[in-house]
């Protein structure tokens, strides 16, 4: 496919790196807020190629990492009821709650199924009329529309034994909260697929109010390098603004239909981010109109307390204040096989990416 030739062309990558080296004159701190970007940057070995005065920080854009432990605890509680079948993306299966994980309770015989699409839950609901199917809704504006569309499908198909346990979150609220804490940050590598839904407009407060350069990037090596070059140029010209590098998928206004579906089904609520704390209006709860598909309304959930593991600096890592290798637990107590902090849990977590890809 010509796609790879275009965005993975080694000769163009080399040219782009040459230009970056020439133009990056002063130290620049950039943060990628999307876990997909963190992973791509490590996967293509970009940090070892970029000049040393460009520092890349990994932000809070991995939905698994920012999902609090009590959510996992509650999901485990739901799984322990033999009436329920828990459906989840593979990402959540091994995430540790306070005492167990979905993988461990699955081994004990509880129903936990991996799905590639929330629509599979509806099939499962039809096949198991005497069970209640709970979908664990995690992710940002990229995944939340899929959940919303599935709820609308369930309504249309009059499926009664299906609900969503939503931990969906929205990205701009977190970026805003972080911008206040990160005075030294020069620019954001803005998420690609979140932006394809939301559009580029939602970032305009970042350059205007916080003086932070914003470029929305794709996930291929050339996408990321071009984005970094665009950010360098914004910083050099001292004129921060919102630019789109990922033009093939992102527009100013985004995907209107997906936005409408999202707004129809979800409402913003205050939410707790693992490592970052409470951020106002950053969570997505199911609208009252669709409460029959809201696990919170349908099933009993035990009360919980929010706590963070001792010694873990995930919060500072997500804020870009510290790097994974500066954590006392990193690579010793906290590893991908035995994750303690949120950022080690997911493949896309900053600590996991560091652990996996840093020679």
């Amino acid at each position: 496919m010509s796609f790879f030739n275009t965005y993975r062309n080694p000769a163009l990558v080399k040219d782009c790196l040459d230009v970056i080296r020439t133009e990056a004159k002063k130290p620049i701190k950039l943060m990628e807020v999307c876990g997909g970007h963190t992973h791509a940057i490590q996967r293509y070995g970009l940090p070892s190629l970029l000049p040393s005065n460009i520092e890349l920080l990994s932000g809070p854009g991995c939905p698994v990492c920012v999902t609090n432990r009590s959510y996992i605890d509650q999901a485990i509680h739901l799984a322990s009821d033999t009436q329920n079948i828990i459906c989840t993306y593979g990402d959540l299966l091994r995430v540790p709650g306070s005492i167990s994980s979905l993988e461990k309770v699955k081994a004990l015989g509880h129903s936990v199924e991996i799905v590639l699409s929330p629509l599979q839950c509806l099939e499962m609901a039809k096949q198991n009329p005497d069970k209640h199917i709970v979908f664990l809704g995690i992710g940002f504006e990229t995944t939340a529309p899929a959940t919303a569309a599935t709820i609308l499908e369930a309504e249309k198909k009059k499926i009664k034994n299906f609900s969503v346990f939503s931990a969906h979150k929205t990205m701009p609220a977190a970026m805003k909260a972080l911008a206040g804490e990160q005075p030294l940050l020069n620019g954001y590598i803005c998420p690609g697929h979140v932006s394809s839904i939301t559009g580029a407009r939602m970032y305009s407060f970042l350059p205007e109010k916080h003086g932070i350069a914003c470029v929305i990037a794709g996930f291929e090596p050339l996408d990321l390098l071009e984005c970094i070059l665009m950010l360098i140029r914004q910083v050099n010209s001292n004129h921060p603004k919102v630019q789109i590098q990922y033009k093939r998928a992102v527009t100013i206004n985004g995907n209107k239909k997906a936005q409408q579906i999202l707004e129809k089904v979800f409402k913003p609520v205050n939410d707790y981010w693992r490592g970052l704390g409470r951020i106002n209006g950053s969570g997505l709860a199911i609208e009252n109109r669709y409460e029959e598909f809201d696990t919170n309304s349908r099933l009993y959930l035990p009360p919980y307390e929010i706590s963070e593991p001792a010694g873990c600096i995930c919060g500072d890592i997500l804020k870009g204040i510290q790097k994974p290798n500066e954590c006392g637990l990193f690579r010793s107590a906290c590893t991908p096989a035995n994750p303690i902090g949120a950022c080690m849990v997911s493949n896309e977590g900053a600590c996991n990416a560091y652990y996996s890809y840093k020679p």
Partner: protein, 77 residues
Amino acid sequence: MCLSIPGKILSIKDQMATIDISGSQYQAGTHLVENAKVGDLVLIHSGFIIQMLTPEEAEETREILREILKNDETSKK
């Protein structure tokens, strides 16, 4: 996941599209996009098409990139 490469719609039935990704096929809902049709290049995420792409846009990006690199050549001179 986010590192998704574009797929091409092979067929659509009952709002579900069969999408070719480098020779393998993947099922995705068309619920989130307008006017998806056979032959379209699309981005997929968690079982749904989240955005339509056009080959022209891909071409355009490559051109922009060339421009950027060229601008630099001229600015160096």
